[in-house]
């Protein structure tokens, strides 16, 4: 008993030390602002995806009607074109907003100026409006990484000037709204000047260059190897009680968002869908929550231990909507090798099997953004543009694979719990 307590303590100590070492990364303002800013785009992506859902609604007569009436179809495309086609503009605003608030600034003007800087960098209007320049080329997902860089730099410039007091101060008595607008003037001029100088005077095609560089990085981060490592690591973090999805999102969310938007754009123009690894691919990795714990919840409700039965019931309802903290923490999976090991194995297997199903062409890569709290089979059906085979993959990864792996683990853990309960009397 004493020995057990000592081992537990060292484990906890090591973990605490490790988490504290990691904490600055989680709190790193730039990385966190990017992640939160991209997460804020989700509603826009879902709104735009309604166009796709309507246009591809799998009823033959409807599809024939659209083919015969392209003007109707082009009207339905509008929400999609505006949300996905201007994705990077929205991103330059939402990311700047997050960083400005983290820097303790009133976020309105920094966000607006970030948008100004991004448009200047990505598409300067050189002649009269609409005559020259590169209208919209980098406003869709291809400018996403440029938007990230530009918004972070422009907020930092703004923050620097405000904190140094290099702003126009209005005399007291001037209404706050007007005073705030004047605060933004000098930073705004400077940000605009800098963006203009780089893009127009020096004629550096920043956005094009970023696309060039990323054409080497994004594909590497979107491979099976990258996905398998990231997802397995995410599961490992959960077994230490750390939110794995948020953690890998710090690095991967720009890749996921970029890939999802690229997939949607490809589907819209009738091209083959390029990327397997997106936010939506994770539907098959973590169906019912990380570790695919829904089958475990079903086993738990039939356990002979009353405590485990209670955890099972607590876990089933949120589990259907892909929330499983009751199972992860209540059973518990965390710091419990008996359940932590299958938790990690299932995540790895789900990633691998789902990837294989995509590679052999059994399932179409997902391209329609939908809320992750939808029950997995429905979510899989919608996000693939009504591909019924995605439901098969969803059932396989939500129930069959984890159902097999969880069973022996559940029996082993139940035996231990019952023994302890008997000892306790």
């Amino acid at each position: 008993m004493a020995a057990e307590a000592t081992t537990k303590k060292t484990w906890t100590d090591r973990l605490t030390g490790w988490m504290e070492a990691m904490a600055p990364l989680f709190d790193q303002p730039h990385l966190a602002s990017v992640r939160d800013g991209l997460a804020a785009l989700m509603p826009l992506l879902i709104i735009g995806a309604f166009s796709l859902l309507v246009l591809q609604f799998p009823v033959t007569s409807w599809l024939e009607y659209l083919d015969a009436n392209p003007d109707v179809a082009s009207k339905i495309w509008v929400p999609f074109n505006i949300s996905y086609g201007l994705l990077s503009l929205f991103a330059s605003f939402t990311i700047a907003y997050g960083l400005a608030r983290r820097r303790g600034l009133d976020p309105l003007m920094p966000s607006a100026l970030s948008l100004l800087a991004f448009v200047t960098i990505a598409s300067p209007i050189m002649g009269a409006w609409g005559e020259e320049g590169l209208p919209g080329t980098y406003f869709d997902n291809s400018g996403l990484f440029t938007a990230i860089i530009v918004s972070l730099i422009s907020v930092e410039i703004y923050s620097f000037l405000v904190k140094r007091g290099l702003i126009i101060k209005m005399p007291p008595g001037v209404p706050p709204a007007i005073a705030t607008a004047f605060i933004a003037l000098i930073p705004g001029v400077l940000i605009m000047l800098l963006a203009w100088f780089v893009r127009v005077v020096l004629n550096i095609d920043v956005a094009g260059g970023v696309v060039q560089i990323l054409s080497h990085i994004v594909p590497a981060a979107s491979t099976y190897i990258a996905a398998a490592i990231a997802e397995t690591f995410h599961a490992f973090l959960w077994t230490l009680g750390i939110h794995g999805d948020l953690t890998i999102g710090i690095v991967l969310s720009p890749i996921w968002t970029n890939n999802l938007a690229a997939n949607a754009a490809a589907a819209a123009s009738g091209q083959p869908i390029p990327y397997i690894y997106t936010d939506l691919f994770r539907t098959y990795v973590v169906p019912g929550g990380s570790g695919a714990t829904l089958p475990l919840a079903f086993y738990l409700i039939r356990s002979r231990s009353e405590r485990l039965r209670r955890v099972g019931w607590l876990g089933i309802w949120p589990g259907i909507f892909n929330i499983n903290e009751p199972i992860t923490f209540g059973t518990p999976v965390i710091f419990n090798p008996v359940l932590a090991i299958p938790f990690i194995i299932i995540t790895f297997l789900n990633t691998s099997v789902a990837w294989l199903f995509h590679v052999i062409g059994f399932v179409r890569p997902a391209y329609i953004a939908a809320p992750w709290t939808l029950p997995t089979p429905i979510l899989a059906y919608l996000q693939t543009g009504y591909d019924w085979r995605a439901i098969i993959l969803a059932l396989l990864t939500e129930f069959i694979i984890p159902g097999i792996i969880w069973y022996p683990a559940f029996r082993a853990w139940e035996r231990q719990v019952l023994e302890k309960e008997e000892q306790a009397g």
Binding site: M19, E20, G241, I242, H243, E325
Partner: protein, 114 residues
């Protein structure tokens, strides 16, 4: 009858809504009242602790790594910060979390609050 203002910090503000109901119920059984606001991790950095002045901040175990930054923001204002025990959290054990709130705030409510 005691009244407590609690700020709950978790990942997406979803699993903690289960907890919210359980803790409010547990307090009601004791004849007390608890007011809970749940926020997600990204909101912590921008949450106005001074304006909201919760009595206590409870941090979900899956976002424990936020403990230090929450302490830096909340403790200068006399707000107690605690992490919820993982199993208690998983079992959605409202009674035990309510006990944790009462114990953490015991004796410090009257004198500390202006």
């Amino acid at each position: 009858m005691a009244k407590y203002r609690v700020l709950l910090v978790c990942a997406a503000g979803m699993s903690s809504s289960l907890l919210e109901v359980a803790v409010i119920e547990a307090a009601r059984r004791q004849g007390d009242e608890v007011e809970i606001e749940a926020i997600s991790v990204p909101q912590v950095a921008v949450f106005d602790f001074a304006a909201h002045r919760p009595d206590i901040v409870l941090i979900g175990p899956q976002v424990r790594y936020k403990e230090r930054s929450v302490r830096q923001l909340a403790e200068p204002l006399g707000v107690v910060v605690e992490v919820i025990d993982p199993v208690t959290y998983g079992m959605v054990d409202g009674d035990r979390i309510y006990q944790q709130i009462v114990q953490a705030l015991m004796g410090r409510r009257e004198e500390d609050r202006p």
